[in-house]
């Protein structure tokens, strides 16, 4: 996988999310938003290996997945602004997106059955599609997750469950909420799972590629646990984490890690293109 292509998507997500926070401060957005800053390599690494007709189901923190899969910044921003050019005409807002085979919902865990149903449909119709569902570590508290893992394993559904473990369920650290281990939870249902602690998009992408190929070929569910970290707070609310901890994690910024693989000129060129695009989209969206 070409690092510059992956970098472009990471940079695009980062720039867009920062812009969203800025627009929020300026009063152009209402409600709330859960930014993806810090976790970009996960979405980009996994989704870069999907076919365009595969199903992607995401959660409340979905902008990064959307940009990585559908790349339509204008439609996304309009949706956040509640405008009719939004992906859902402004009805859904930040947490409720739908575009082609991309779906998100703001209820924890409830999207797993949807993803499993889509995987069932793909298998039933023999289309070769797979379904990928992104959940966070906090979602592991929901019972329906395990109902679905059980069924997906038993019925051999082409479903990839990606757990982005950013260590916090909103404000509560995982040490207070999670018993045992995440991978054991997959294991309990006879689902193979790979755990990866990496901020390197190439490493994530490579791991995801082999897993996605296996899901597609075997038509069996698979787990991918990505230990990660978000730099921004959970949503628009204040951040209860220790600032020193957040600061220390900055050295694992996937953006900088990817930049090390590129030449200065490449970075500049990509940043220029993305900055222009984001600026243009913001202006368009504000006028829409």
């Amino acid at each position: 996988m070409n690092a510059s292509i992956l970098y472009k998507d990471i940079y695009k997500i980062r720039t867009f999310e920062e812009k969203v926070l800025e627009l929020f401060s300026l009063g152009h957005l209402r409600g709330t938003t859960h930014t993806y800053i810090g976790q970009e390599a996960n979405a980009v690494g996994v989704i870069s290996n999907l076919n365009s007709n595969d199903f992607v189901v995401s959660n409340h923190r979905c902008h990064g997945h959307y940009i990585a899969f559908k790349k339509n910044l204008y439609a996304l921003l309009c949706e956040l602004m509640g405008k009719s050019d939004g992906v859902c005409g402004g009805r859904g807002g930040s947490q409720h997106l739908c575009d082609g085979t991309f779906y998100t919902n703001g209820i924890q865990g409830g999207i797993l059955p949807l993803a499993a149903g889509l995987a069932y449909g793909a298998k039933f119709n023999q289309t070769g599609q797979i379904a990928v569902v992104f959940i966070g570590d906090g979602t592991l508290g929901e019972g329906v997750v395990y109902e679905t893992l059980n069924i997906a394993s038993k019925w051999e559904l082409p479903l990839l469950v990606v757990v982005e473990n950013n260590q916090y369920a909103q404000s509560t650290p995982i040490q207070l909420t999670l018993a045992g281990t995440i991978s054991k939870r997959f294991e309990a249902f006879g689902i193979n799972a790979t755990e990866l602690s990496s901020f390197d998009v190439l490493e994530i992408s490579n791991a995801a590629k082999s897993i996605i190929d296996r899901v597609r070929e075997s038509s069996k569910p698979y787990g991918l646990i990505l230990n990660t970290y978000r730099f921004a707070s959970h949503s628009k609310s204040s951040d209860g984490r220790d600032p020193a901890e957040v600061e220390s994690m900055r050295k694992h910024d996937c953006l900088q890690i990817t930049e090390r693989l590129l030449q200065e000129s490449q970075i500049e060129s990509i940043q220029g293109i993305v900055n222009d695009e984001v600026e243009k989209v913001v202006l368009q969206a504000l006028e829409a």
Binding site: C88, G110, L114, L118, F124
Partner: protein, 333 residues
Amino acid sequence: MKFIESIRNGLDSLLGNYPEVVLYGEDLIDPYGGAFKVTKGLSTKYPDRVWNTPISEAAIIGMSAGMAMCKMKPIVEIMFGDFTSLGVDQLLNHLTKYAWMYNNQVETPVTIRTAMGGRRGYGPTHSQSLEALLSTIPGLSIIAPSHYHDPGRILQQAVLEDSSVKVFSEYKLLYPQELQTPNTVKSGLTLDVSSDVYPIAHLSNCEFDNPEILIISYGGNALLLEQVLLDLLIEYELSAQCALPARIKPFDPLQIQHLISEAQVVLVVEESPKCHGWGAEVVATLSEAGLLSGKNVFRIGSAETPIPSSMAQEEQVLPSAAQIMETISQILV
């Protein structure tokens, strides 16, 4: 034909003619054939499209949305209506939201079949009629035919032609009942069924009179109300009619309009709790349509307690013919 056979035939016809139709739920494959035996024989005939699930109501209801988005027509059986509560998050926050929330980019034509109602001695958690509870979920249609309808045909049309998320409520005591037609209806009663997709069955104890009593109800309550109509006739010679819409939500006052004008007493009968119930919605809707002025209006539903297992106690909690007779006779006798 019996109510249960009609539904089974409806399912058979759907599976036989439409490869996108699938049917799944708990314990419904042969030889068991479902807790109420509705699906008996179907898994043998359509092994790839009729299957058993784990006891995971939320997941199996939720998955139907994904299947529907893949152009399948899923029919989910929830063994007891009481268990739909386990899938309420899926119904409320997922299935009924998708189409609208996603700006109509997707459709979720899902049918949830479930057995509702008491009078079988199953006690507090296996006897409820949750139509009223479920009816508060925006966008959820609720279909509850009686043995005066053709439930198999209604089920087929619901699955094929209605793109909304639907709960298809089957009253347990109706399963062994013979379906009634204008020719087979009990002596003393007349029956007229409209030709709508969701027909209204109109049962009456008088042929030509304009009855002074209109009872609006649905589903298995028809078993109670056919007796009430006869009792009113035999005890007091009061003429009464009963309107049984097959689809109770959305409730269409236009289906009732022509029946209501002569009525002095309008009763809404349901087995769901009366408090905040379907009856309240029906009365309010009819009132807003200007159809209730000057009429005596009553709601009859179950009491605000769990449904007891004991038959004698259950009779006190669920609506009874005696209770309905007493309500009417206080006004008209």
